[in-house]
Symmetry: C2
C-alpha cells in the first residue's frame, strides 16, 4: 500500500516555490529581467575557474577506474584529511580525517547528524526565524522539531524562551548562522551564552545535548562582523557544511559533517554516520566532486556581490522607513513588513513586480525575506519599484 | 545521547570487507598481481569515452550557473524524460518523465521505493541468495526484511516457500535479477509465476503488494539468456537502477526509480519520493552527473570481459568437479563448496592466495562467491591455484 504519510505531504505547497513559479510566469509576460525576483536562495556568481579546471584535468588525466571508483561510504580518505586540515587552519580546531563524514550537501549532513544523536520521539530545538525545510528534515527522522520564538530585537537568541524549552526531552539544538532568512550572524557572546545554558542543562539532566550547527553560509560574512565558529565554544558539536553557496555548486550536492574531536564518542560518530547511510541510501557523495572540491577548499566564488547588494538594499529600505536589522552575512535580508499581515504585504508587492517572501513559513509573523543573490544592476533597478510600492500602498 | 542502534551496528564486520582487506595486505607481501582477489564486485572496465568527453565538453562550454545549479529534487526534467524514452524503446514500456525519480545509485533508489510502499513494521520479502546489504537497507527504513530460502537446484525461486511467506503482512517483494551473488537471471517463466502468485495474494488480502526490482546488473547478461524486464509482467513494480555497473561509475552514485505507469498511484509516486528525500537528506543526485549520463543512456562499458571470465572459470570449476549453476549474467559465479562449511573452505583457499567469499552472509550455506570483475589474464593465472587447492585439500 502506498504510505499515507508521504501522500499527505503532497498537499503542502511551498510558499517560496509558488512565488518563484509566479515570478517565472510573470517573466514570460514582461521579460524576466523586469521581474524583481527575490524569492530563491540560488547563488548568482559562478564557481571558481580552478574547480572547473580541476574537474577537466582529472577527467583528462586520471585513470577512470580510480576516478569513478567506489568511495568509502565515509568519503574518500584523502578528501576527509584535507577538509580536516583546512578547518584546523582556519578555525584552530584539531580535527583528523576520522572526524569528517562527507555528505551530499547540508541536507545530507543534517539527516545523518540528527539520526546519530536523537532517538525517535526526542526533541530537536531550533530558533525562529528558521529555514522551513528543517521541519521535514527533522520530523522525518522520527525526532520532533520544536521552534524557540524569535528575538525580534536583534535576531540573535531569545534566551528566556530557550531555557524554558530546553527540557530533558531535548537531544539536540539546531542552529543556522549566518542565518537564513534573517541574514544575522550569531555573535561570540550569543554562542557563549547558548553553550553555557546547554552545558548547565546537560549537567542537570545527566545526558548529552548536542549542538548541530548548519553552516552553508559560513563563508558569506560581511566586513567587520564577529562570526565565531560555533564548535569552538561547545564540545558536543556536529558542524554541517555544504559547498553549495561558498563554491556556487548547489546542484552537485557536496558537503560534510565535522565532529568536534572533544565530543562524546567523537571517534565513532563518522563511522556511525556510515551505518546510518545504509538506511538513507546515501552511501557517499560522488567521487569526482569530492576530489575536485578537495582541491579548492580554501577558495570561494566571488562572494563580494552579496555584500554590495545588501548595502544597496539596506540603505534604500531604511530611507523608505522599513525597520530592519542589518545582515551580517548570507544573501538574505529580513525587514519588518509595513502591515501586520506579511502575506497581504507580499501579495501587494507583486503588483510592482517585487517578489518578496512573507515570513510566516520561517516561524515569525510580520516580516519578509529578500534573497538578493541576483545581479547588482537588477537590485538597483528594483529600488524604484520599492519606492512606488511604498508610496502607493502605505 | 549517541543513538545506541547505530553504535551496535559497528560490531558487525562485513566478511567481504575483511577478505578484501586480507587481499590488500597479502598483496603487500607477494605483489597484488599474485593475489587472486575474487572478493569485491567492482567493475573492471573503464567508463565509455563518450561519458568523459561529455563531462569535459559541458565543463568547457556550459554556463556554470546552469550546469551546477539546483536540480529539482525529482531530478532534472530533461534527464527524466530521456531515461523514460530509453526504457520505452528498449523494454516496450510507456513511462513518461513523471515516472522517473533520479537517485544516488540503486541504494538511494531502494531507500525511496521501500519508504513509498512499506510502513514501519511491514514485511519485505527477498529471495536467498541475496545481497547482504538488503538487511540494513530495508530494516533501517522501519520495515522488516524476511528471506525466502533458496531454490538451490536452479537459483530461480523457491515458490513453495514464497507462497507460505507471502502473508498479509508483506508490503513488497524485493528481487535482484541478474542476481548477486548467484549470477542467475530470472526467466520469463519465473517472473510470470511470481507475478501470478503476487496478484492472487493481492486479491486475497485486498491490498497492493509491490515488486521492487533491483537491477544494477541489468545490462550484464550473457549470450542466449532469457532476461525479461520484470516490470512488464507485474503492474505494481518499482524498478531500481544504478549506472554503477553498466557504465562503470560506482563512485558517482547515479541511478533512478522507474514507476510502472500502470501501478497504483503511478502519477504521484515520484513526487512522494521527493518528499521522502527531505527526510533522507538525499535531495537529488549531482546535476553534472545526471546530465552526462543522460547523453550516454544507450551505451555501456565494454562488458564482454565478464562473459569471457565466466566461461573460463565455469569450465575449469566443472573440470575440477565443482557443482555450479552456470551464470546468466552479472560478474559473479556461485559454486558449491567442497565441504559443508563454506567458511572453512574459503579459509583454506587463502593458502593458495584465492580470495573466495563464503555464502553464509548471502543467506545460504555451503557455497562461495567469486566476483570475476578482474583482468582475464589474472583469471587464467588463477586456474593453477584452483587446481593446487583442490588437489591438496580435497
Amino acid at each position: 500500500m502506498i504510505v499515507q504519510k508521504y501522500k499527505d505531504m503532497l498537499q503542502g505547497k511551498s510558499v517560496i516555490r509558488q512565488l518563484s513559479e509566479f515570478a517565472t510566469q510573470r517573466g514570460k509576460e514582461i521579460g524576466y529581467e523586469n521581474v524583481f525576483d527575490y524569492s530563491l536562495g540560488n547563488p548568482s556568481v559562478p564557481v571558481p575557474q580552478a574547480f572547473t579546471d580541476t574537474m577537466i584535468r582529472m577527467l583528462q588525466e586520471k585513470n577512470p577506474m580510480e576516478l569513478h571508483g567506489y568511495s568509502q561510504s565515509l568519503g574518500i580518505p584523502s578528501v576527509r584529511e584535507k577538509v580536516a586540515a583546512s578547518l584546523n587552519e582556519r578555525f584552530g580546531m584539531h580535527y583528523t580525517g576520522n572526524h569528517i563524514f562527507m555528505t551530499t550537501g547540508a541536507a545530507g549532513a543534517i539527516a545523518h547528524a540528527v539520526r546519530c544523536v536523537a532517538e525517535p520521539g526526542d526533541e530537536v530545538l531550533t530558533f525562529a526565524p528558521y529555514f522551513p525545510e528543517y521541519a521535514p528534515y527533522i520530523n522525518l527522522t522520527g525526532a520532533v522539531l520544536k521552534v524557540v520564538p524569535a528575538d525580534t530585537e536583534s535576531f540573535q537568541i531569545n534566551f528566556e524562551a530557550f531555557e524554558q524549552m530546553l527540557t530533558d526531552k531535548v537531544a539536540a539544538v539546531l542552529i543556522n548562522t549566518p542565518n537564513n532568512p534573517s541574514g544575522m550572524v550569531y555573535s561570540t557572546q550569543t554562542i557563549q551564552e547558548m553553550a553555557r545554558i546547554m552545558r548547565e542543562k546537560e549537567e542537570q539532566y545527566g545526558h548529552d545535548i548536542f549542538l548541530i550547527s548548519d553552516e552553508p553560509y559560513r563563508e558569506i560574512v560581511f566586513a567587520g562582523v564577529d562570526a565565531p565558529y560555533p564548535s569552538r565554544f561547545y564540545d558536543n558539536t556536529l558542524s554541517c557544511y555544504s559547498f553549495s553557496k561558498s563554491l556556487s555548486l548547489p546542484g552537485e550536492r557536496i558537503g560534510y559533517v565535522a565532529v568536534n574531536p572533544a565530543c562524546t564518542d567523537a571517534d565513532i560518530i563518522s563511522v556511525m554516520c556510515s551505518q546510518i547511510s545504509r538506511g538513507t541510501g546515501h552511501n557517499c557523495p560522488p567521487s569526482i566532486i569530492q576530489l575536485a572540491v578537495s582541491e579548492v577548499l580554501d577558495l570561494t566564488a566571488d562572494l563580494s556581490v552579496y555584500e554590495t547588494n545588501m548595502n544597496i538594499l539596506y540603505k534604500e529600505l531604511m530611507n523608505l522607513g522599513f525597520e530592519c536589522v542589518k545582515p551580517g552575512g548570507t544573501f538574505y535580508i529580513f525587514p519588518r513588513a509595513l502591515e501586520e499581515d506579511a502575506v497581504a504585504f507580499s501579495e501587494k508587492a507583486k503588483k510592482y513586480d517585487l517578489i518578496l517572501v512573507p515570513s510566516d513559513s520561517f516561524g515569525v509573523k510580520g516580516y519578509f525575506r529578500l534573497a538578493y543573490c541576483i545581479d547588482t544592476e537588477k537590485v538597483e533597478r528594483s529600488l524604484e519599484a520599492f519606492r512606488k510600492f511604498v508610496k502607493a500602498e502605505y
